[in-house]
């Protein structure tokens, strides 16, 4: 069935398709219409919606609900994402699957509430305290909002990590045609449940793999969850051997599976001399520019990550190899640009960006590419 949906509506529909049945949130522009959609849709499918007193409470509530075995999410924007960081850290440490959509607006602080930006890219990676890994997806279209939300839930459940959808005000309120797949048409992953009797169950038992099964509260498996460093049983410990083992697993369960997690799009990359690296709404301006440049005979292509954390390092290196130069285009002051420079350290990496609330127009990108060619 084809529907005209906004990006935020598509995230809500994707969440419901993925099995999300609990949403706790606090209104914040430009994400509020996502919460509105969930408040309308969840009761129709047997789910629950609650508007909490703030973003801290929202993030706490979805962790609580997730521990009861219910797939849960919240949505917010910059200032709210800042408030949620403590609980993101908790979810990472306690390995509770949650999904957070951050509809990016201009920052810092209250910034530009009704305008787009891509200024929270690094916050999604390093925003909360402590060492942990989370997964971040960046949709560039309304349809992708749907599919990447399903993927966010799948990855969150599979790896027991917080997963973020980093959208932006442009994609959030853009309306496009979306085909909602039939149930069963695309894969929906549920967290692994314990296969041992309760007396043998440990919530952080890594003997069978990097991601231990997670029992639901109330299902007969009584266990303890804490944000303190803990051993495989879930109880606090400060034994360096046990703590080290836990923290290493929390990062390794993602770092060892980057190639299985990442997803990207290559557009006219093969014969390109110049590789444009861009993501989210900005990548659409890049594609428009690439079309124009190709008409002028300029060989240029786009490399666009759909999953940005963990960063698709190897995949990017491979795509960039042999190219004359790489141009990073983003709506911030060089957040991912530095990351690309780090990864492609032996290449010419150019960067362009702005953070004034305006999506970068294709003409500016064309000009920049031409500039690179003549320099």
């Amino acid at each position: 069935m084809e529907k005209l949906l906004s990006g935020n509506e598509a995230i809500a529909e994707g969440a419901i398709y993925a099995g999300c049945r609990f949403f706790a949130g606090y209104p914040i522009t430009p994400s509020s219409d996502l919460a509105e959609r969930m408040s309308f849709r969840l009761p129709q499918v047997g789910g629950r919606f609650i508007q909490m007193e703030d973003e801290i409470a929202s993030a706490g509530a979805i962790i609580g609900a997730s521990l009861c075995g219910i797939k849960s999410m919240t949505a917010t924007s910059g200032p709210g994402f800042s408030l949620m960081q403590e609980h993101i850290s908790f979810a990472a440490m306690a390995e509770v699957p949650i999904v957070i959509a951050n509809i990016q607006r201009g920052g810092p602080s209250t910034g530009l509430p009704t305008f787009p930006s891509q200024q929270d890219m690094m916050q999604a990676r390093w925003g909360a305290h402590g060492d942990y890994e989370a997964i971040t997806l960046v949709p560039c279209s309304v349809e992708e909002c749907f599919y990447l939300t399903v993927k966010a839930f799948n990855l969150s459940e599979k790896y027991r990590v917080p997963a973020f959808i980093l959208s932006d005000e442009v994609i959030a309120h853009l309306r496009e045609k979306v085909r909602i797949p039939e149930p069963g048409e695309i894969e929906v992953i549920d967290r692994e449940k314990p296969r041992v009797p309760p007396e043998q169950y440990y919530p952080y038992d890594d003997s069978q793999g990097e991601v231990p099964p997670l029992a639901a509260f109330g299902s007969g498996y009584r266990y303890h969850v804490t944000g303190l460093a803990h051993d495989i049983t879930g109880f606090p410990t400060h034994d360096p051997e046990k703590v080290g083992r836990l923290l290493k697993r929390i990062v390794d369960k993602i770092r060892n599976h980057v190639s299985e997690i990442v997803e990207y799009e290559e557009y006219m990359v093969e014969d390109a001399d110049i590789l444009v690296f861009s993501y989210g709404c900005t990548s659409r301006a890049c594609k428009e520019a690439i079309q124009e440049l190709r008409r002028d005979g300029v060989r240029v292509g786009l490399w666009r990550p759909k999953v940005i954390w963990p960063f698709p390092e190897e995949e990017l290196k491979k795509a960039a190899s042999g190219k004359k130069a790489v141009l990073v285009v983003e709506m911030n002051y060089k957040q991912i640009g530095y990351e690309v420079e780090r990864i492609l350290c032996d290449m010419r990496v150019h960067w362009m960006g702005r953070a004034d609330g305006e999506i970068i127009p294709p003409e500016e990108i064309e000009e920049e590419v031409k500039c690179i060619l003549t320099s």
């Binding site: 005209l4 309120h173 853009l174 309306r175 496009e176 294709p362």
Partner: protein, 180 residues
């Protein structure tokens, strides 16, 4: 084919809904669409803009930059957005509100709101009259799709007056086209 349509007026004139219906009509015609609108404090009286890109191809850059079709329901809207038009763009204005316009351009100054009041007794149906005119004048969406898309979107119980307004728009568009 890629057509950029811009509907501009003030909050309360139903242009956001108008844009949605136009976009959904285009989907029914099998096209790709990208709809964007003014976002933020869009209270009654403030400028309200509803942009629709309609294309056979994939739409990359999602914002309207130079419109092929502009509907302006207020003078302010006309003054502000005629800067961003393609050469030969078709402009439709409400002659009641827009008194000063560029004689060199292709401007259809039509009694849109007057017709809405006359036909339905409700000025709010000006959006449907306008959509009817645009469809008939430009063929950007088919009349059937527009009718279906409208009926699927509007609140129950308002079908009759909205259809009446739309038909009046088709009629006005046809006459305007004949006149050239």
């Amino acid at each position: 084919m890629k057509i950029e349509v811009r509907l501009v007026g003030e909050g309360g004139q139903g242009l956001i809904l108008g844009g949605l219906i136009l976009a959904e009509a285009a989907i029914r015609d099998g096209k790709n669409v990208a709809h964007t609108q003014t976002y933020g404090a869009a209270a009654r009286g403030e400028i309200s803009k509803s942009d629709v890109i309609i294309s056979d191809e994939t739409i990359y850059y999602p914002k309207v930059r130079q419109a092929d079709i502009l509907l302006a329901l207020t003078q302010e809207a006309y003054d502000r957005y005629t800067r961003y038009l393609k050469e030969g763009a078709i402009i439709v204005v409400d002659e009641f509100y827009v008194k000063r316009y560029d004689k060199d351009r292709k401007v259809y100054a039509l009694p849109l709101s007057d017709t809405a009041i006359k036909e339905t007794g409700k000025v709010i149906t000006v959006n449907m009259v306008s959509l009817g005119v645009i469809s008939e004048l430009t063929g950007v969406v088919s009349k059937e799709s527009l009718k279906e898309a409208m009926l699927a979107r509007i609140p129950k119980g308002t079908e009759e007056i909205n259809l009446k307004a739309l038909e009046a728009g088709f009629e006005m568009g046809r006459k305007a086209k004949e006149k050239g």
